[in-house]
């Protein structure tokens, strides 16, 4: 190796002889860095020339990395000088071996990926419907299994694994209190602010209290608690169980003769059914506090606010909100566990299950809420 050379040294000598002939002599270090400069120079000087023969003399190369070899191969394949016959000579024996190992055939055998075939619309629709039917069947199967396992598991203290229920209760319930508090108080305040101006036009600002009370207890309290539960815990259930499936832990349970639904899902569903009404009640209360704070800020007296709240709300509203919490909690936990158990193979499988758990939970919560609203309307009539 020449001690005076450095990685930035490459001498490129390009000579044009008789018409259609060119000779490139390379001396020094053909590293990744110098290859780029060399490529630019050759592109510029050879681009518009019609060559019949190109000779590349690499005998002066002291160092040639994979990038340099790639350049020599590219030249040798005639890609830079279409139509010309190209010869690369003078490579040191080891480099020559590496150079010859990757041939034009290797390069041409490689084909860029063909675009995915576009399926006809009926086929696409059929696929989607089939998938939806399969999904529905899976959910019904899951619901059936949960229903079948729930009572026997609840009745047998050992099979229930109450420590697991307590753990879920803590992570999904107690740990959710700060975020539920923040979201609920802000929503309560937002509603009070938004309602204040239109109601003031009719001199009815005091009805902010009625509105906040009804909206939070009957609608937004249960919805906020359920949506936050879906985002925090439904997704976590799907991810936990999905990861267990990927790690073959569910297979291990089954070969031990244990039913994954009884062992994993029942505890989570029970915990969610118990904790969601509490979370709902808490979300409603904090939301009302937020609204009351705004009402106080607008100058309404506290005693009047309480009086309006008491007159607007009755026990059936609280009961109805809590009942919603029970149903929403069951939906979130059941969907989370079901999606986790449905996890397929592959690196993105757990992520897909988590997303599906949250989306399905929210859709089902809204559908259940609509059914509750109709039910309430019919019962109150």
């Amino acid at each position: 190796m020449n001690g005076e050379s450095s990685p930035s040294d490459l001498d490129l000598d390009l000579q044009f002889g008789p018409p259609g002939y060119a000779r490139v002599a390379l001396r020094g270090w053909l590293t990744a860095q110098t290859t780029v400069n060399c490529w630019d120079r050759l592109q510029q000087d050879l681009r518009d020339r019609k060559l019949e023969k190109l000779e590349v003399d690499a005998s002066g190369l002291q160092i040639c990395g994979e990038a340099g070899l790639a350049l020599l191969r590219y030249l040798n394949m005639g890609r830079l000088t279409p139509g010309a016959s190209v010869s690369v000579t003078g490579l040191e024996a080891g480099l020559e071996q590496s150079f010859r190992e990757f041939t034009r055939e290797d390069y041409e055998a490689f084909r860029p990926p063909t675009r995915a075939k576009c399926h006809p619309v009926p086929e696409e629709v059929g696929g989607v419907v089939r998938q939806a039917a399969w999904d529905l069947r899976q959910q019904i199967d899951f619901l059936g299994s949960v229903t079948r396992s729930l009572l026997p598991t609840l009745l047998k203290r050992k099979r229930m694994r109450w420590t697991e229920v307590r753990s879920v209760f803590e992570t999904a319930g107690a740990n959710a209190v700060p975020i539920v508090s923040l979201v609920s108080i802000l929503v309560g305040m937002i509603i009070a602010f938004e309602a204040a101006q239109p109601l003031a036009q009719f001199g009815a600002q005091i009805f902010i209290a009625n509105m906040i009370g009804l909206v939070m207890v009957r609608e937004l309290g249960p919805l906020l608690a359920a949506v936050l539960l879906a985002g925090r815990s439904g997704s976590a259930f799907a991810a936990e169980i999905g990861t267990m499936k990927v790690n073959e832990e569910l297979d291990a349970l089954q070969t031990l003769g244990l039913d994954p639904i009884r062992f994993l899902a029942i505890q989570r569903i029970t915990a969610a059914i118990l904790l969601t009404p509490l979370l709902t009640f808490y979300a409603s209360f904090v939301g009302i506090v937020g609204g009351v704070l705004v009402a106080l800020g607008l100058g309404l007296p506290l005693s009047l606010i309480f009086h309006q709240l008491a007159s607007a709300l009755n026990l059936s509203d609280v009961f109805f909100g809590t009942a919603k919490g029970v149903v929403f909690g069951a939906i979130v936990a059941a969907v989370g566990c079901c999606r986790g158990l449905q996890t397929q193979e592959g690196p993105s499988a757990v992520g897909v299950s988590t997303t599906r758990a949250v989306v399905t939970s929210i859709v089902l919560i809204v559908i259940a809420d609509a059914i509750f609203s109709i039910l309430y309307f019919v019962l109150k009539r």
């Binding site: 990744a32 860095q33 290859t35 780029v36 490529w39 990395g65 994979e66 990038a67 070899l69 790639a70 350049l71 191969r73 590219y74 890609r79 080891g94 071996q97 590496s98 190992e101 990757f102 290797d106 390069y107 055998a109 490689f110 084909r111 990926p113 193979e345 592959g346 690196p347 993105s348």
Partner: protein, 260 residues
């Protein structure tokens, strides 16, 4: 391998662990250019943790790691980036990006870290894949490859930027003996033909005898290196019975609780 060979890695007084917990201490060794250097030890002896400290994924509690003339532990910003480019790492399970084809995986370092023109990037990536025997699988997704192929693809990706040093974490883990032997052949060929220095974490004895020029052995109890040398020498002449037992695959009846 002689003493005059260039030293490419120097690990000096390294102490590794998590928080207050010390896993290994007083780790000192040098790796020469072109050598296949194996870090071995029983399960839980801290082999992979040591590797992650050497390649800069974890910060050691104390000590220095000199690679290609720079101390990776103390290096910051540009110097750290320069040092990270001087070596490649292939992880135990390949760690190929599942959403990319094998070719895209190998091209990734070239796309992100080199200024080569597009056609040359593709040629370099394809040549690396050919070198590890995976040219035909260039368009496949990692999930479509067998375990051995995934490890080969990981080696191809680690070599994309022509590093002089390759770190391999448990290359033979989970492979059948034939695939494992094929991988050993590949490592030997890369070391002898291209002068690549290998630092390999493994406890596969058959591979160690086949590929290792020199090994260091870690011990869980001693929390440091308990043996250094050539595998056959350690097997036959080590003064430490634990080392001889390891190299001769003899069970530790006391530790296992069996009354043999």
């Amino acid at each position: 391998m002689s003493d005059t060979d260039e030293i490419v890695i120097t690990v000096r007084n390294l102490k590794v662990g998590y928080g207050e917990t010390v896993i290994l201490q007083n780790i000192n060794f040098k790796v020469r250019e072109g050598e296949v250097f194996v870090i071995l030890g029983g399960s839980g002896s801290g082999k992979s943790t040591l590797l992650k400290n050497i390649i800069g994924l974890y910060t050691p509690l104390e000590g220095e790691v000199w690679i290609e003339g720079g101390n990776l532990v103390a290096a910051m910003d540009d110097e750290r980036r320069r040092l990270l480019k001087t070596f490649g790492v292939a992880y135990q399970n390949g760690a190929l990006f599942g959403s990319m084809s094998v070719l895209e995986n190998v091209r990734l370092p070239l796309d992100e870290l080199s200024t080569l023109p597009e056609p040359l990037k593709e040629l370099v990536a394809l040549a690396k894949l050919k070198l590890v025997g995976l040219a035909a699988a260039a368009q496949k997704l990692p999930s479509e490859l067998s375990g051995g192929m995934q490890k080969r693809a990981a080696i191809a990706r680690a070599m994309a930027l022509d590093p002089r040093i390759l770190f391999l974490d448990e290359p033979s883990a989970g492979l059948d003996p034939v695939t494992s032997a094929d991988l050993d052949l590949l490592i030997k060929e890369l070391a002898s033909r291209f002068g690549i220095t290998f630092v390999i974490v493994t406890h596969e004895l058959s591979s160690i005898y086949e590929i290792a020029d020199r090994v260091i052995m870690l011990d869980t109890q001693a929390r440091t290196i308990i043996a250094e040398g050539q595998p056959a020498d350690l097997r036959d002449h080590s003064a430490d019975p634990g080392v001889r037992r390891f190299f001769n695959r003899q069970p530790d009846a006391v530790a296992s609780g069996l009354h043999l």
